[in-house]
Amino acid sequence: MSAPLPDELMDRVTAWALGELAPSEAAALEAEAREHPALAEVMRETREALAGFALSEPIAPPPALRDRVMAAIPDATATTPRREDATVVPIARRRTAWLPVTLGLGLAASLVLLVQSNTERAHERAAAADALAQLQARLDAREALLARLTDPSTEVITLAATDDAPRIRIVVDRQRKVAVLSAAQLAEPEAGKTYQLWRIVDGAPVPSVTFRPDAQGTVAALEVPVPADGELTALAVTLEPDGGSTTPTLPILFVGAVGTTR
């Protein structure tokens, strides 16, 4: 078992293993773990410990469930010969019987093509089901975002660049203690640097999430926790070393007051 970590960090690890962290918080912790093998090890141990806890009280499922599960998966290999089985060697050895050889090889080739085609179709069906599930998940996420954007309890904060660079838009939902950050045409930070959001709470900067834009300079719908830990008056963005900082590095690149726009 690895060495213990500070309690606050252990609480985050536990929340991560239980799936309680917002995606941005989980990503931040996983990024930290990539830099700190001891943290990664504790995260792995915690996930495995919870799995062990969950699996410690098995209950026999109804026998019919096994049939249902097995019936739901593609049956290409069970109902048709495998490709190698379809190559009928004995016929090929009968050198004098050309017609049966030709027919046999033709049949074998057809079987190979049939099996190949069935297998490909099964994979295509699985891929299509997968793609559909991913689309559904994206649709759900968009719907959740739309619901937040249209909720009366949300407010939209636009962080204007201090040097006329592109803007960052943040939708703050104080009721649910969450915000959604999006940005476009952001410059890619140099290697080893990352953008970091700061919440100005009771006049002091509190570190929030780190983020990097994609190749097009876009940050799409990044969830940001907004705990009610004081009076939130502004949001700001700076450029920090990878992993983020506990105090902001000047200059402030973007800043926006909270509660002044809607």
Binding site: E20, G52, L55, S56, P58, R68, M70, T77
Partner: protein, 195 residues
């Protein structure tokens, strides 16, 4: 002690369309996963749907599994818990779950029309489960309770504190201590056993 192919071997075979390997994986983990699904959903029909969906997902995604995502057991159980919690939320039974008596966090499988695994039918997965049960038996009831509320009911630490009317710090401490004990028990398992 030999228990046949490892979980990762089974998944590799499943990724190549091996139904027999898939059946073996089902036999190895369905009881544990069904236990999770039943405790989360408290509904046998829902639990069966969750298991069917989770195994279908495992079939589809076997090729994408990586040991970096944890053991196969953790991968599967995360899948089933997530689907079970979704099922509860989707079907609006959250309120009913929250109305449960806090003292009773364990499911009575017999009352739910199923039965626990008989010890004489124990498999390798159950061997691992037995080791974890031994560790769990050493935990104070209060620590087991917070783990069960977090894991099976999907409650946040703050919600657990509200439910049990104890300070949030107490819930966090209980959870930390419980998990430390379980991690210790898991560390005692040889790598091959923990697969």
């Amino acid at each position: 002690m030999s228990h046949g192919p490892s979980d990762t071997d089974l998944l590799r075979a499943i990724a190549h369309g091996d139904r027999a390997a898939f059946a073996s994986l089902y036999d190895r983990y369905a009881p544990g996963m069904y236990g999770v699904a039943l405790r989360v959903t408290r509904d046998a029909a829902d639990a069966e749907d969750v298991i069917a969906e989770a195994f279908a997902q495992a079939w589809r995604e076997a090729a994408r599994y990586s040991t970096e995502r944890g053991s196969v057991a953790a991968w599967l159980v995360t899948m089933v818990r997530s689907r079970a919690l979704d099922a509860v939320r989707r079907r609006g039974r959250r309120d009913r779950l929250e109305d449960r008596a806090t003292a009773e966090t364990a499911v009575d499988p017999v009352a739910m029309g199923s039965a626990p695994i008989r010890p004489d039918l124990a498999t390798e997965a159950d061997d691992r489960a037995r080791r974890m049960r031994e560790a769990l038996a050493t935990l104070p009831e209060a620590q087991r309770e917070v783990l069960a509320l977090a894991y099976y009911d999907g409650l946040s630490q703050a919600e657990i504190a509200d439910r049990l009317t104890v300070p949030l710090g107490t819930v966090k401490t209980r959870t930390r201590l419980a998990l430390a004990k379980l991690r210790e028990a898991l560390g005692a398992l040889a790598p091959e056993e923990s697969r």
